[in-house]
């Protein structure tokens, strides 16, 4: 009978050998520079222990905290629902009038940083960004501080979709379906994708005056990305932008696919289960503000 090898001591010894001795000096220097211009976020609860306070003050603060949690909790309910009340209609945040602009038109989405509210360009589209959104690699606009991740992230991205992985979890070995050059080709590819039994149902939509289809692709809520190839869930690939990699279970990828003068364009808005109704409304407002550059042979829908 063979005794099984105990790998733990060898793994621990190997990790110890692999670990670098010191961080490069430039890391501290760069961090110091960023911290000099970074403001701290104050806590809304007392950061210090309550033990030194008297009982009355403790009870008062406790009651105030409970009330605050209740108010915040209700306001952050998914979809903005109030308990036992009707569904409120989400109100988009007004788009600021202080739009950055230039003589050549709206600026391109920058590489990083919190964006000023205003109109921006992404490839062949321009669109309006409200306050509170962050630029990502000249390619996407994410809500807050790079907060694309669940439970409350949100993002707006323009894509050109070339192929769809039939199994997004096992994307490295699954077959891919070419989307072709039509809206229906893209839709049919996603219909063939394994979404944990969830059926992809396209509905008619219009973006920037161009007709197309909208599909809501939901990452199965019970999936563990660690079980997927390389711990990632890849839905589709693009000729230029790489591969769409989802950030977590339950995430919604809402794709609006339209034909703009013979070229299929996809506008992705993504959000997660706890993304607030106002943020979702801002996503919708960004979509509503999209204007495509005129195609060589314009044929917008009436």
């Amino acid at each position: 009978m063979n005794a099984r090898l105990d790998p733990d001591p060898r793994i621990a010894a190997w990790l110890k050998d692999e670990a670098p001795d010191r961080a490069p000096e430039r890391l501290l220097t760069a961090s110091r520079e960023r911290i000099q211009s970074t403001h701290q976020r104050r806590a809304w609860w007392p950061a210090r222990s309550l033990s030194v306070m008297n009982t009355a003050l403790r009870l008062g603060l406790g009651a105030a905290a409970v009330l605050m949690v209740a108010v915040i909790g209700v306001s952050l309910l998914p979809d903005g629902r109030t308990i036992g009340g009707p569904d409120p209609t989400p109100t988009p945040t007004p788009l600021a009038s202080a739009a950055p602009s230039s003589a050549q038109g709206p600026p391109y989405v920058p590489g990083s940083g919190l964006m000023s509210a205003g109109r921006y360009r992404l490839g062949r589209i321009t669109f309006a960004v409200p306050r509170g959104w962050t630029a990502f690699e000249e390619w996407a606009v994410l809500h807050g501080d790079y907060a694309a991740d669940p439970p409350d992230g949100a993002g707006f991205v323009r894509w050109r979709i070339a192929s769809v992985n039939t199994d997004p979890c096992h994307w490295s070995t699954s077959t891919t379906i070419s989307t072709g050059s039509t809206v229906d080709g893209v839709i049919n590819a996603f219909k063939a994708q394994d979404r944990g039994g969830r059926v992809v149902t396209p509905v008619d939509t219009t973006v920037g005056g161009y007709r197309g289809k909208l599909i809501d692709l939901v990452v199965p809520a019970d999936i563990d990305f660690a079980d997927c190839d390389q711990g990632e869930y890849h839905s589709w690939t693009s000729p230029n932008e790489g591969s769409r990699y989802n950030q977590g279970p339950g995430q919604h990828d809402v794709l609006r696919i339209v034909d703009v003068g013979g070229t299929v364009e996809a506008i992705l808005t993504d959000y997660s289960v706890a993304t607030s109704a106002p943020v979702r409304a801002q996503l919708q407002a960004m979509v509503d503000s999209v204007v495509f550059d005129a195609p060589p042979n314009p044929s917008p829908s009436p």
Binding site: A23, R32, F225, G242
Partner: protein, 183 residues
């Protein structure tokens, strides 16, 4: 001055106190990030982001004595974000692995190469749990709290990753025995 005192001062906006803390901690943070991400640039970016987030959110830490555990969680979020950020764009790039030469064919070197090869293939989640458990010496419960996952998930990831590394070591041991038998 104790670490807790430095943390309290930094919570109140004392940048000098935070600088002392940061200088003491940066090597430790970098080692962890480097082990998990397996890339110099990514590790630097992740640690820099963690240090900035730590400064920004420090006033929200309720108990300064829990600073180390809290900082580990901040680092893990930055490491995960960095891995995802890189992946988002690197997904279509096929990396060509250049197999390192084995100068003398010793057992120890072969073990190390095999461990590195298998470790590099693990997902970021699996590498994280291995580093937290085998390098930092955390229990599975502590590691689960640090990465914010259920204990069962952490346990299953550690089991999977350890089995993969064990298989690599056993395969290497078998090939070494075969080599000796043929010699």
């Amino acid at each position: 001055m104790t670490k807790s005192e430095l943390v309290r001062l930094a919570q109140d906006g004392d940048r000098d106190a935070y600088d002392v803390l940061m200088t003491e901690l940066v090597d430790h943070l970098y080692r962890i990030a480097r082990l998990i991400l397996r890339d110099f640039d990514s590790a630097e970016d992740a640690v820099q982001e963690a240090l900035v987030r730590c400064w920004r959110d420090l006033p929200q830490l309720r108990d300064p004595d829990r600073f180390d555990a809290w900082l580990n969680r901040v680092l893990m979020r930055s490491v995960t974000d960095e891995a995802r950020r890189r992946r988002r764009f690197a997904a279509n790039v096929t990396l060509l692995r250049i197999e390192p030469a084995q100068p003398d064919g010793t057992r120890e070197l072969a073990d190390r190469d095999e461990l590195a090869r298998v470790f590099d293939r693990l997902s970021i989640e699996h590498r994280t749990i291995v580093v937290l458990h085998h390098y930092l010496g955390m229990t599975v419960d502590e590691a689960a709290t640090t990465i914010g996952s259920p204990v069962g998930t952490a346990k299953s990831r550690l089991h999977y990753a350890t089995e993969a590394l064990r298989a690599a070591l056993e395969a290497d041991a078998r090939s070494g025995s075969a080599g000796k038998a043929l010699a």
